[in-house]
């Protein structure tokens, strides 16, 4: 519902803090919901990040220093669970919430009240999972992948984990339905699908994955709860069940899930690199095609997580896994070709976008080793995998998230984040990240398995672990710089222009921040870069008007 701005101050009293709080709690405005997503997600990021630092502190040296074995097992489980389900996915959904309606020139999402519900389920989910620490026996401690039979053995913390994930799953499915209907039905006149901004395409692809894959894990969680508390035997081999069933169900969801965690980041980077190169995205059609191919293929690779079980069809899944690297490679070529012959500007959004490309490449390449089953037998379940997942999820998605934050912060908050602090943030994050995770490739090759609370001093792993711990704290410093940047910037007055970067897409055609109804006036949409077209037309008109 459009809110009329009051033009005459003094006639209407300033809303009290209580009224403002209630307004935020009951909002159905996609922009405010987006902001709520950011706050919740970054709070979870801080909690899960501290968990990472606790683990790294423990692992820096052999022996138990900080965390008991029991505590360590809970911490690594919750670190993974919170980061994946309650930080990365929601923060990308937050970007989608704020910017998809703006990019398509719509007033709001198709179902604004369902949108609010989707958000509010998330803090409940996070608190439910975290409350496991107060349960008898502690929080869930079977890893974020939660394999049976271990997960059937656990105490009440595991039930809380299941409940939390069911809530998060419902939230994401409702959100995905909202995005798909919004994108298909509420685009501005003239915006055909092949003029849709690439970030919105990425959100559409992600949402298709969520609608089709997330219900599968919901089913798995129901089966797990039933085995734990209702006396069923889905996973109990002694009574006709199968331990492998969990892995099939989990990874059928789990592999599309990792693409849910990266597609929107690809989308953001594919918006930022063109803007900061002053050229259109090279091969827009190829990028869209790659997104859709990856979306489809992601359902065919799941058992590559199960090569070492000795119970799955190895050549088939090896082929599909290697095939999915082809459209992924195409993305890289398009990004590089966009930069070639461009006019590159290295503001913080572009720094992080370039960092994304450089780091996601490593994550993608080290996955190629694991796509070959015989090689996987040597490095599966070792720190090579930990390196891989962090290179794609941190080196990839988190760098992408930071790129998006610096790019879109002025639009959301009406202020520009400090460029100088942004540079410090970038370099500390880049150095800290590589220092933490590159050595893990070597640790994996040297035989260090994952999910171990401690290791023996004679294995030759100590030095690399200490190095990784130092890196982790450098990442922590980078995040503090980011936090300082945000706090300092929010104190400045709202002076950001509508289009600080020379953007291409519709969100730059409105004020920073946009009014409640998003646009005063929509520019005509005749290409995938309506604001670029508007700007060049205005420049041409200004030049033509000069005598």
């Amino acid at each position: 519902m459009a809110i009329t701005e009051v033009q005459r101050p003094g006639l209407v009293p300033e809303p009290s803090p209580a009224t403002r709080l209630v307004a935020w709690l009951t909002t159905t405005d996609h922009k405010r919901i987006g902001i709520l997503y950011f706050w919740n997600s970054f709070a979870v990021f801080a909690v899960a990040g501290v968990m990472a630092l606790l683990m790294r502190t423990e692992l820096a040296q052999p022996g138990t220093q900080l965390l008991s074995v029991r505590a360590y097992n809970q911490v690594f489980t919750l670190h993974g669970t919170l980061m994946i389900f309650l930080f990365i996915f929601p923060v990308l959904a937050g970007f989608g919430n704020y910017f998809v309606p703006l990019q398509i020139g719509a007033l709001d999402m198709a179902f604004p009240r369902v949108n609010a519900l989707s958000f509010w389920l998330l803090p409940v989910s996070a608190l439910t999972i975290l409350s496991g620490f107060l349960a008898k026996g502690g929080a869930a401690a079977s890893g974020w992948t939660n394999y049976v039979p271990i997960s059937v053995q656990q105490g009440a913390g595991e039930d809380l984990w299941i409940a939390g994930l069911l809530l998060a799953g419902v939230a994401s499915i409702l959100g995905a339905i909202n995005f798909i209907v919004t994108i298909l039905r509420l685009r501005a006149p003239g915006m055909t699908m092949m003029r849709l901004p690439i970030f919105s395409w990425a959100t559409l692809a992600t949402s298709l994955l969520v609608v089709l894959a997330t219900p599968v894990i919901t089913a798995g969680l129901v089966m797990l709860f039933a085995d734990r508390r209702l006396g069923t035997t889905f996973f109990n081999p002694a009574r006709g069940g199968d331990v492998l069933l969990w892995q099939h169900v989990f990874w059928f969801f789990g592999h599309p899930e990792v693409y849910m965690l990266i597609l929107a980041a690809w989308g953001m980077v594919s918006e930022i690199i063109p803007v900061f190169s002053g050229k259109p995205l090279f091969g827009y059609t190829g990028v869209v095609l790659s997104f859709l191919l990856i979306t489809a293929l992601s359902f065919s690779v799941w058992a590559h997580h199960m090569f070492v079980t000795g119970q799955v069809e190895l050549p088939f899944f090896s082929v599909t896994t290697e095939l999915i690297s082809i459209p992924t490679g195409v993305l890289f070529f398009n990004w590089l070709a966009t930069m070639r012959k461009g006019k590159l500007r290295f503001d913080p959004p572009m720094l992080f976008a370039l960092g994304f490309v450089a780091m996601f490449l490593i994550g993608g390449l080290d996955g190629v080793w694991m796509a070959s089953p015989a090689m996987d037998f040597a490095i599966h379940d070792t720190y090579w995998v930990v390196a891989h997942i962090h290179y794609v999820l941190f080196g990839g998605t988190v760098f992408g998230i930071m790129a998006g934050m610096y790019y879109w912060f002025p639009k959301i908050c009406g202020r520009m984040l400090s460029r100088r602090l942004g540079q410090w943030h970038f370099w500390l994050q880049f150095i800290g990240f590589n220092l933490t995770f590159f050595p893990m490739h070597l640790l994996g090759l040297r035989g260090m398995p994952r999910r171990i609370a401690d290791y023996a001093p004679d294995r030759g792993w100590t030095f690399l672990n200490s190095l990784a711990t130092v890196g982790a704290f450098v990442i922590g410093m980078a995040m503090l710089v980011f936090l300082v940047n945000v706090i300092v910037t929010l104190r400045r007055p709202r002076e950001a222009p509508a289009d600080p970067w020379g953007g291409f897409t519709l969100e730059w055609a409105t004020s920073s921040p946009p009014p409640a109804h998003n646009f005063e006036r929509l520019p005509p949409v005749r290409s995938s870069r309506p604001v670029y077209d508007m700007r060049t037309a205005a420049q041409a008109a200004a030049e033509g008007a000069e005598p």
Binding site: F111, A176, G190, A219, T233, R239, D242
Partner: protein, 201 residues
Amino acid sequence: MSGTAIPIRSGEERAVAGTSSSVLGMVLFVASESMFFAAFFGAYVNTYVNQKVWPPNNTPAPPLSLATAAVASLVLSGLLLQGAFRAARRGLPGTVSRWLVLTLAAAVASVVLTLVSYAEVGFGLHAGIFASLFYLMTGLGLAHVAGGVVLLALVVVQSLTGRLALVRYQPVQAAAVYWNFVVVLGLVIYVVFYVLTNTGG
């Protein structure tokens, strides 16, 4: 009314015409529910191919009588709802209400018959893998039918209070999408757990 041609919109305005948002949303919701049940069917297949005797000896095939009546009532309700939908397309509020009430009656009958049919089953939830699959899948299916009954009841109320015509009967179309899903699901579960097991399939 039927003679008036709806103007063909230009490509520029294509984004605005087409299926309504709520119906599209319901289609997507049904897609997600189908994947939810597909996971259970996957578990069924995974178990079936690994077992020598199916159903296992201690969990014999559940009896057909009441379950068949339940699924027949469910299919009938689906057909009745199609009647309501066609009446809605022709803009006949009274007829729509009548069909909807009959649909609801058949749906409620199906739920009752299913619940009663559980009493005939010769094994409990703890009786092994077939029991686990049977009770969970039929139970979840029943829950989805019950949810659909609530949805239908809401549409019936809207119809009886005359509000349905104001929204161009879209809720009927949306409810029909969901209800068709539930009917097909019920049929498939019936065939898998009752027909195939009783005929040595």
